[in-house]
């Protein structure tokens, strides 16, 4: 214990002394005085109605980059997310989560249950608000999904996983909602092309606002409220995909160890 404390203290002192020496030598002085020209280009076009060919029509530059300027990047990140969850499900392919279904009465004490019941609607409201305001304020589909995925985790810890099964939130249902989210993303990717085919003009994949040679963009306003074209659609569908993707993982991870071992042993002896 004393040895670890000594190592930690010496590391802290080394870091502080090195930072002080670097400051005396000028250090990172000019590094943070200005941002790169690329960042300036993003910042100056993120919401500019006077430059309709370049703007993403979103006041939040981060979401504009995530789903417009660098949209394909995020699309393939979503593919990585999809494959990671499919890999985890493949490990549990023969485990039936409904085996050993017990009634209610499990879980933590009454105080924790009541507090959790109060927290759940707040949690849902915050997550949906983050998703729907993703193009206006910091946040978006990924963050909203992570905030919403706290809810199945909380329910599993407080009420046991059988509570989720009684609510019919099984692996199949969560996978179905996740597929709806991913299909929605795929449809939104091709939506500008479908609109352009109907109108007989050109369009790009993942196009948001109108571009050179592609005059059809998605509407930036509905009525008086700013929806930033495709950004709100991407945020909502990504929210669905992330929420239910993590729900599947939490459901599988919370299956009791002896149930999993029994079913896996059965699988081994069958072969």
């Amino acid at each position: 214990m004393k040895k670890e404390l000594l190592i930690a203290m010496s590391m802290v002192i080394t870091v502080v002394v090195m930072a002080y020496i670097a400051t005396l030598g000028g250090g990172l002085g000019p590094l943070f005085s200005d941002v790169r020209p690329l960042a300036k280009a993003f910042l100056s076009t993120t919401l500019d109605p006077e430059k309709p060919l370049f703007t993403a029509m979103s006041p939040e530059a981060v979401t504009a980059i995530v789903w417009d300027y660098r949209g394909l990047d995020t699309l393939f990140e979503t593919a990585v997310f999809y494959l990671a969850i499919i890999g985890a499900i493949a490990i549990y392919r023969d485990v039936n989560e409904k085996v050993g279904l017990k009634g209610s009465g499990l879980g933590l004490s009454k105080i924790v249950r009541v507090v959790t019941k109060v927290l759940i609607p707040i949690n849902i409201a915050i997550a949906i608000s983050i998703a729907l305001h993703g193009h206006l304020t910091p946040g978006g589909g990924f963050q909203a999904g992570a905030a919403m995925a706290v809810m199945p985790m909380l329910l599993i810890v407080v009420f046991s996983r059988y509570f989720l099964l009684e609510l019919k939130l099984t692996k199949g249902l969560a996978l179905a909602f996740r597929s709806i989210g991913l299909t929605g993303i795929a449809l939104t990717v091709f939506l500008p092309i479908i609109i352009a085919l109907v109108n007989g003009v050109n369009a790009y994949i993942m196009q948001n606002q109108m571009k050179v040679n592609a005059p059809v963009g998605l509407p930036a306003f509905i009525g008086n409220s700013l929806i930033s074209g495709s950004l709100i659609l991407y945020n909502v569908f990504e929210f669905l995909a992330v929420t239910f993707g993590f729900s599947v993982l939490f459901l599988l991870l919370s299956i009791e160890e002896d149930i999993v071992k029994d079913q896996m042993r059965g699988e081994v002896s069958e072969h």
């Binding site: 590391m11 080394t14 870091v15 502080v16 930072a19 002080y20 670097a22 400051t23 250090g27 990172l28 002085g29 590094l31 943070f32 005085s33 200005d34 941002v35 790169r36 690329l38 960042a39 300036k40 993003f42 910042l43 100056s44 993120t46 919401l47 500019d48 109605p49 006041p59 939040e60 530059a61 981060v62 979401t63 980059i65 995530v66 990047d73 995020t74 990140e77 990585v80 997310f81 990671a84 969850i85 890999g87 985890a88 490990i91 549990y92 304020t137 910091p138 978006g140 990924f142 963050q143 992570a146 700013l226 992330v242 993590f246 993982l249 599988l252 991870l253 999993v260 071992k261 896996m264």
Partner: protein, 131 residues
């Protein structure tokens, strides 16, 4: 806040992040227990994300990359792009955090399966197992 202190704090964050990356690499390479390797890997991911955010930082007075005016004039946009921090690293980190969590879950599932099949999480023993 004086410029000297700003530069010192920026140096301190950068050098401590490098130190954290060093510690986490030690954990990934030298610790035999797979659970400790996973913990070190998450620390490494977070340090890398923080480093990316730090690269896009701008010295104060700086503002977040959110335009507060929904009907901006040209002067508003010029002022905004002259004082906001770099949004690109933030956009990359935003996805990397959630994707990293999904990949960590996959690694945890694999580690759990390894423990079920081999009865150990020691990387030195798992290496010797065959079949």
């Amino acid at each position: 806040m004086s410029t000297e202190l700003d530069i010192f704090l920026a140096n301190l964050s950068l050098i401590s992040l490098i130190a954290i990356i060093g510690v986490s690499l030690y954990g990934i390479l030298a610790r035999p227990n797979i659970v400790k390797k996973i913990i070190a890997l998450t620390i490494f991911t977070d340090a890398a994300n923080l480093l990316a955010i730090l690269v896009g930082f701008r010295r104060p007075p700086s503002i977040p990359p959110v335009l507060l005016n929904l009907e901006p004039r040209a002067t508003d946009i010029a002022e905004f792009s002259a004082s906001a921090v770099d949004p690109l690293p933030q956009a990359l980190v935003l996805t990397a955090v959630v994707i990293g969590m999904a990949v960590n879950m996959l690694i945890i599932f694999i580690a759990l399966q390894v423990y079920r099949l081999y009865g150990t999480l020691d990387a030195r023993k798992i290496r010797r197992l065959r079949g």
